[in-house]
Amino acid sequence: MAVESSAPAAVERIHRLDRIWAERPGLTGWITTTDHKRIGLLYLATSLAFFAAGGAEALVMRTQLAEPKEHVIGPATYDQLMTMHGVTMIFFFVIPLSIGAFGNYLVPLMIGARDMAFPRMNAFSYWLFLGSGVLVYTSLLLGMAPDAGWFDYVPLASRRFSPGLGIDFYALGLILNGISSTAAAANFLVTIAKLRAPGMSLNRMPLFCYAILATAFSLIFALPALTADLVFLELDRKLDFRFFDVAHGGDPLLWQHLFWIFGHPEVYIIVLPAFGIATSIIPTFTRRMMAAFPLVAVAELLVAFIGFGVWVHHMFATGLPQMTMVFFAAASLIIVIPSGIQIFAWCMTLVTGQPEFKTPLLFIVGFIVFFVFGGLSGITLAAVPFDQQVTDTYYVVAHFHYVIWGAAVFPLLGGLYYWFPKVTGRMYHERIGQLTFWLVFAGTNLTFFPMHISGMDGMPRRVWTYPSGLGWGLTNLLSTIGAFLLAGGLVALLVNLVVSAYRGAPAGPNPYGGATLEWATTSPPPPYNFAVIPQVTSAYASWDEDDRASDRRRLEHGDLVLEEGHRTTASTPVDGHLDGVLHMPSESPWPFVLGVVATLGTAFVLTDHYLIAALTAALAAGVLTLWHAKEPAEA
């Protein structure tokens, strides 16, 4: 039940909604579901499984590097693990967790909608993501994983120097993954533009949704550069095209340009949802609205925009013209401005509010520390001469782990705690939660801080071992100890959440007095999210008690309950005026089937069965026809 009410008319309406929105039970229900919350949970479970795999890869590498001349694994295995660690953490963990899990679960709830704009495409995004992950991980099980680094530079990645199937697994898997992310991003853009609750004009939209909006924009415009690059690579490798072959007029730097035109916006794609989570958690635990709300909203969008103009700073050591490098160094430094606006806004909100340092807020404070630190080492790297000095050393590894692990993932961990009561209806264990924060915080610093020193002392990245007598032993040993401490903290975090899911105290709809609309419904929310579509008059809708009381009255009158079928409201994109009522599609097996067919088709291309792959494409067209056979209004 989404709104507490004992009036008979209201109870009857809620029963009707329960019947309309019920999905199939059991495993079939999970396969055919179009409920954004269940899809979000599927993303959560899958991305955490990949996180465990990527983490295990990291621990094996750290064990190998603990001391000079170790022989835990050989160089070939090390290269595979290093590549898989990067690919996994970026494409199969952080993005699916932040956009797929948090975005999916929360955006419709925060904007007061009953589902995403395209529920079946949402399911398809998930199944395709799963297919791409299974495909890429098959290579590791077969012992032929990609081994040219996550950025996969040619000519190393060309067929001449990487003759196995590893690079093909990488390229084709990431093309599938990119299609999945594009579909998800399109879904978020339309959902945010069209499905906001009546009254939620753009200036009343929660900042988390701004962050997801900025991320989705970046994905839409950044991913095609990667897709084109990967297609060129596969054409070169499989059909002897010459995109990257200098002898025939091609250019290896073309790969790097296209890769980083995608790759730098990608950094902001990773970190923006984290900003959004920070702006959700801070107001709740400081009991005040975000300082400089409009500036933070604009800064989130601006970071995404400027992120498209800085890619060459990954290529300062490739011999580009001085003028080009100066331009891109300047552009890279400008990012400091929108980032600074956000940092100051977070700090001001903390300082001027009444902060209560519960576990989620602790993770956000940790995030601010890491973001400032990683940002400062980022400024040193934007200086061309310094960058050329430390390129390809552990200093760079230290920098991007502070940013991507410390700044991007800490809010995700805080978010896991923060929304845990909403998803499960139970509270996590607060003291163990705080303990896990300190373990993970200490582990992160112990792992990644010494890497700055290893790098300054000249230790190159991507080496499987190193000789003794160079002074790298101590810092590497500290990093390895830190990595295991970090892993221990993460295991404790997982245990806390799993045990609390069964034994935690009941949470109620709004255990922390949260401000956004997801706290206005029950924990966990019903399949239709809200028994009555909320009407919104501010960005902190759950703090507007009059509005929520009016929701309860409207439920009794049946105003915008939409109890005639799978329905939700549509609003105008800017002002959020009620524009109409939409028939939403319901559960369907076809997104799953299409995901399987697309993955199989890609596997056939991978193994050079082009005719069968073409037949699979025809089959996919058939599946799409069946998918659209029934119109939502007929269901």
């Binding site: 395209f118 839409i220 991913l223 550069a225 297609v231 059909l239 095209f241 091609g250 296209l258 939409l582």
Partner: protein
């Protein structure tokens, strides 16, 4: 009180197509930029032994494809206004022209493949890739048209209305991007 007003704004499907068009534009942007990048790095463009493409046929063909925007726009207008009007006939007309366009282009493509290979030079690689991606977009559009015709013969519903508007938008994009592709491959011919 159960009011179900009819939406006045454009349907979600149209917005979805707008985003698809945006991301596909970025894809073509990457391909066209690659053409320019490789061109700037190789003064012999096209390399010796390859004739620059002839101007007339590609130019006329892409103008014909752009012209199919008109009937698609007509059908989209009928759908948008939710009134009786030309719908099936303009889509069918556009479909016939688009199929003819695709067949003619496939013929030219095969001819080009006889003259030089994609694997012989970076020029050949980007030339054939760029055209193939464009033709694939036309092919997908043709399939969408066939599906749409089968649907709208039974009349317009809210769902089909969105489909007509979205698929028309797709064709505006494919037509205009076709012009950009043609202008790019003809650079060495001017």
């Amino acid at each position: 009180m159960t009011t179900t007003p009819i939406p006045r704004a454009r349907p979600n499907g149209w917005y979805g197509m707008l985003v698809l068009v945006a991301t596909e534009s970025a894809l073509f942007g990457a391909l066209l930029a690659t053409y320019a990048y490789l061109h700037f790095h190789d003064p012999r463009w096209p390399p010796p032994g390859i004739e620059p493409p002839s101007i007339t046929a590609p130019l006329v063909l892409s103008l014909v494809l752009v012209a199919t925007i008109a009937p698609m726009a007509l059908a989209a207008r009928t759908a948008r206004r939710r009134r009786a009007g030309p719908l099936v006939a303009p889509i069918a007309l556009a479909l016939i022209v688009q199929v003819a366009y695709l067949a003619f282009q496939a013929h030219l493509y095969a001819d080009d493949l006889d003259r030089f290979s994609a694997g012989g030079s970076a020029y050949g690689s980007i030339y054939f890739t760029l055209l193939a991606v464009h033709h694939a977009h036309v092919g997908v559009g043709v399939l969408l048209d066939c599906w749409l015709l089968a649907r709208v013969r039974g009349g317009l519903t809210e769902y089909r209305r969105g489909a007509v508007m979205a698929i028309a938008l797709y064709w505006y994009f494919v037509g205009l991007v076709g012009l950009a592709v043609t202008a790019t491959i003809l650079i060495p011919s001017w």
